[in-house]
Amino acid sequence: MDLAKIVEEGALKITFPKEYPSVAEVLGVRGFIVREEGNSYVVLSPTSFSISRTQARLSLADFRKFFKNAKVFGGFKEFEGEREAIHFRPKRPLVMTFKVSVPERKLIEFAARQYLLDVSEYVRMCVTDNAIETFIRAKRQRETGLV
């Protein structure tokens, strides 16, 4: 199963004009699906992500203009850290539950505090990271002929 195909199903979609090639470039390098459609770039991501002004290599004014011009489908955009970064996050209408023991709950809470996240954010981060790593590992194994 290709990661790109899974990402495309119900992904967070961001479009912005072609006058920001540096943003498209940095997101492409970070592994997002970036496409050109007419006069816009289209970026697909399975989960939330942030881009800072320095990563985007834009001036303060251009970065604010980029924020206004970026359209988000299936999610939201917001400034972070005194408008030095933009956070894109998808709508999250689905709820999943799992059971834990008392020590497991304490352990998860402890780890979440180390990352300055709440339990929900921490678990989501672990799960999506692990899922992406699973696909990358499987792809590498297929490419090396181990599977």
Partner: protein, 137 residues
């Protein structure tokens, strides 16, 4: 969860190693050993150096408090009682990613979520300073 093993299995206990003490801690209580476990635990027969017959007897002699034991072939798994429920919100794309990854690993989505959260928390860089099952933080 506490796993209680009679002291006649001292040789087997010596083969269990967790230098970090994050996954389990072993206490010698003279007539038995108590293994305090943070999360699930499993034993493989070959790793313990037991014959199939000895492994069967070993399984019968083990007592578990706050959880359950299960044997399948050369494998004994211990699962703690899990009375607490954690709810997580997901986007459609996130959940579909998780479902496919769980499928690839051959586990259920819930098992995949629990495994991901706990394994990161137990990693040296993930839980940063977590001191194991006996500490109340």
């Amino acid at each position: 969860m506490k796993v209680v093993i009679p002291s006649k299995y001292a040789v087997v206990i010596a083969r269990l190693r967790d230098p970090s003490g994050k996954f389990f801690r072993i206490t010698d209580c003279e007539d038995h050993f108590e293994i305090e476990v943070t999360t699930g635990l499993s034993f493989e027969r070959a790793a313990l150096g037991l014959t199939p017959k000895e492994f069967g007897a070993f399984y019968r002699d083990i007592k578990v408090w706050g959880g359950a034991k299960k044997k399948s072939g050369d494998h004994i798994a211990f699962e703690p009682r899990r009375p607490l429920v954690v709810s997580i919100r997901f986007a459609e794309s996130e959940l579909s990613l998780v479902q496919k990854a769980a499928e690839q690993m051959g586990v259920t989505v819930r098992e995949f979520i629990r495994f991901s959260a706990l394994s990161r928390a137990l990693m040296p860089t993930g839980g940063g300073g977590y001191d194991g099952p006996c500490q109340d933080s």
